[in-house]
């Protein structure tokens, strides 16, 4: 760099010659130099500022850009976490006690239409009708052509073949949405236990499945809970036993000309319901609509076993005997007057004359009304109420079926002595067959309270609350065994080799809706348990309006109708439940119990 001198000799000399002060020249030069320096510094500072600004801009845009990216995209780590966890967004399966599938899901497609996208709505409606003959032609055509509808559901679930056919139509306005469908592979088998489902909130991509009956409704939240990872709901039902019970009951119902029937098989100790059948039944895959007209109890949806309130007749006599034995008023051999009994200008008589006196065990065996009435009056209303309350007849059965928990037994509001009399032999009180099964289980298991359940019980140490004493329970079992084993017993047709059936029949006239009783319409019930030497299962069979010709005579009583059906069920089901037949013959087995 060339520096100009501060005191250029030529200028100084000429200035001296002119007599000027040469210092001025130096000052001038110095100021010129300073000006240049100032300019340079300024430019440098400006550049530095610019660079700094650029760095800041880059830095801030990098941070900003990263923030924008984070905001607009989901992070990979989150995605990883989600796919690794086991949350399953699917309704859980329902399985029986051995793990056989009772209800599961299947993916299917729902068909919907967007009429504005359609090329030829008229033709589309016509073609769809050929694929789905059950569609309403007028409604479909109207929906497609009216121009008002932008979106129409056509079919809730479509099979793959039907889907292909719809695709083949080539109509762009017909679209599919994926769906989960509830499938019951066994069809009608456990219809009333399972209940059924329907679609809830719907969207093009998915639809909610809501339980509408049975366990599907009761356990709806549990079945839908994603946190349970799709763990299946284990029921106490045994698929094979259920199938055998249903088959026998169905044949029995047809044979006995009954219009309905129900059967409950219950474990006497755990209260697990092994099988529950109510006929007529329905297919939960295609659940019928609730009937608006007519008697709701005639609908196939009606669960006779858990919802049907019936007067259960003479099956109640054993509870009267239980009251007497518990109060210590009688033992099985106590002799009781069985002559006709007058009360309030009404005479109570037996089905036929059983003689002037009978022992308590004979009263039960022959099913004597008057003997039972005298026992009940001797024990008193309070004791009767206490026994029935202990056995669960005053409350709805606490089983996990919505239908059952809403069905409270009908008991007299004003419990007069007349009520005590009629209730002693099972009239004037209405309960469900499930109540009866529970009460008989208590009698059979040694007197411990039973909580009926439809869920598999996995623990052995159930809370045991004593309701009836062991001794009374043993005496009642022996008395009920005689009903089957003795020649005069009302249920002698229930003899099943090896399984020591014990039980009590009950035939009750049906109540007219207008009041009073039907003459020839009865509910025939047989409440039983087996094997008597060590009861394992309770079986209650109930037939609605049975009638059968025996030796040219029309019979309706339970001994001729419900009892043979129950015997057949036990014959079929007991081996399925791995119950070893007891090797002694019927009479000997009885002796061994009664001598205990």
């Amino acid at each position: 760099m060339r520096r100009s001198p501060l005191r250029p000799l030529a200028h100084i000399i000429s200035a001296r010659q002119e007599g000027k002060n040469p210092d001025f020249i130096e000052a001038k030069e110095r100021s010129k130099r300073n000006q240049v320096l100032q300019l340079k510094t300024r430019v440098r500072a400006e550049n530095r500022l610019l660079a700094l600004g650029l760095i800041f801009i880059i830095g801030f845009s990098a941070v900003g850009g990263k923030m924008a990216m984070l905001a607009s995209s989901s992070s990979d780590e989150v995605k990883q976490y989600n796919s690794g966890s086991k949350i399953i967004n699917q309704r859980a399966n329902i399985v029986d006690r051995n793990g056989n599938i009772l209800a599961t899901n299947m993916s299917t497609q729902a068909l919907y239409a967007q009429p504005p996208l359609m090329i030829n709505p008229q033709k589309a409606a016509k073609d769809l009708l050929e694929i789905f003959p059950d569609l309403n032609h007028e409604r479909v055509t109207k929906n497609f052509t009216s121009g008002k509808r932008k979106f129409v559901w056509v079919k809730k679930s479509v099979s793959p073949e039907q889907q292909q056919k719809v695709h083949d139509l080539g109509e762009p306005g017909l679209l599919f949405g994926s769906r989960e469908m509830r499938l019951y592979p066994n069809g009608k088998l456990a219809a009333h236990v399972l209940g059924g489902t329907r679609f809830g909130e719907e969207d093009v991509r998915a639809a909610e499945i809501i339980g509408v009956g049975g366990v599907e409704k009761y356990f709806d939240n549990m079945l839908r809970d994603p946190a349970l990872e799709g763990e299946p709901l284990e029921l106490s039902i045994d698929l094979t036993a259920q199938a055998a019970t249903r088959q026998v009951l169905k044949n029995g119902m047809r044979f006995m000309n009954a219009k309905g029937a129900s059967a409950i098989l219950m474990d006497v100790n755990t209260g697990e319901i092994i099988s529950l059948v109510s006929l007529p039944d329905f297919d939960p895959n295609n659940r019928p609509r609730v009937a608006i007209a007519g008697d709701p109890s005639d609908s196939p949806l009606f669960n006779r076993a858990a919802q049907g309130l019936y007067e259960l007749g003479s099956t109640f006599k054993i509870f009267t005997a239980a009251t007497s034995l518990e109060k210590g008023l009688a033992n099985p051999q106590t002799i009781i007057d069985t002559t006709p009994f007058k009360w309030n200008r009404k005479t109570y008589k037996d089905y036929k004359n059983y003689g002037p006196t009978n022992s308590v065990e004979d009263i039960i065996m022959k099913s004597s009304n008057v003997g039972t009435i005298r026992m009940a009056l001797a024990a008193g209303t309070t004791a009767q109420k206490k026994t029935l309350n202990d056995l669960g007849f005053f409350e709805a059965v606490p089983v996990e079926l919505g239908e059952a928990s809403r069905t409270k037994p009908q008991i007299p509001k004003n419990w007069s002595d007349t009520s005590t009399i009629t209730i002693s032999f099972g009239h004037g009180i209405s309960a469900t067959p499930l109540h009866l099964a529970t009460a008989y289980s208590i009698v059979a298991n040694g007197g411990f309270r039973v909580k009926p359940t439809i869920k598999k019980v996995n623990s052995n140490n159930l809370a045991k609350e004593k309701v009836i004493s062991q001794k009374t329970s043993q005496q009642l079992i022996s008395m009920l065994r005689r009903v089957v084993s003795e020649v005069d017993g009302t249920a002698k047709m229930a003899k099943v080799d090896g399984y020591q059936v014990a039980g009590k029949t009950g035939t009750a006239e049906k109540i007219k809706p207008t009041g009073g009783y039907y003459d020839k319409k009865v509910i025939a019930t047989f409440a039983s348990f087996f094997p008597a030497s060590n009861p394992k299962y309770t079986l209650v069979v109930s037939l609605d309006e049975p009638e059968i010709e025996v030796l040219g005579e029309s019979r309706r009583t339970a001994g001729f109708t419900a009892v043979p059906v129950a015997a057949e069920i036990i014959t079929r089901v007991a081996p399925i439940l791995n119950l070893r037949p007891i090797a002694t013959d019927d009479a000997m087995a009885y002796t061994s119990i009664s001598s205990q």
């Binding site: 990883q80 796919s83 599961t104 299947m106 066994n186 069809g187 080799d497 081996p575 037949p581």
Partner: protein, 116 residues
């Protein structure tokens, strides 16, 4: 010397950058693979659930009992009854024989394929 340090530094930076990017892309590839596998797993699960449903449908007691009736002449299957229970003692057991291995033998689980 200064230039040398600068060069070394930039080389190190470039190597690190290369390594970081490679790792990043491998991770992304793995994530995609996991996603793909998860999709396959869920497809398989769906297929499995359909097969299970079908198996349950084919094994429904009603169908099995009908099949047993249809093939009665061949299979002679009857419903289980009390008479079918018996003592274990009445079943003749095969005589117990001790297994004597006298010569060396080749054991293979690969469908009997010979080893080279």
């Amino acid at each position: 010397m200064k230039i040398f340090i600068y060069m070394v530094c930039s080389l190190v930076v470039m190597t690190m950058a290369y390594w970081a990017y490679t790792e990043n892309y491998t991770t992304q590839a793995s994530i995609r693979r996991v996603e793909e596998l998860n999709r396959l797993v869920s497809d398989e699960q769906e297929a499995l659930s359909i097969l299970n449903a079908e198996w349950a449908y084919l094994n429904r007691p009603e169908r099995l009992s009908n099949l047993a009736d249809l093939n009665f002449t061949k299979l002679k299957l009857v419903p289980l009854a009390a008479q079918h229970f018996n003592e274990l003692d009445i079943i003749p057991m095969p005589p117990r024989r001790s297994l004597v291995v006298s010569s060396p033998m080749l054991v293979s689980s690969d469908r009997g394929k010979q080893f080279p």
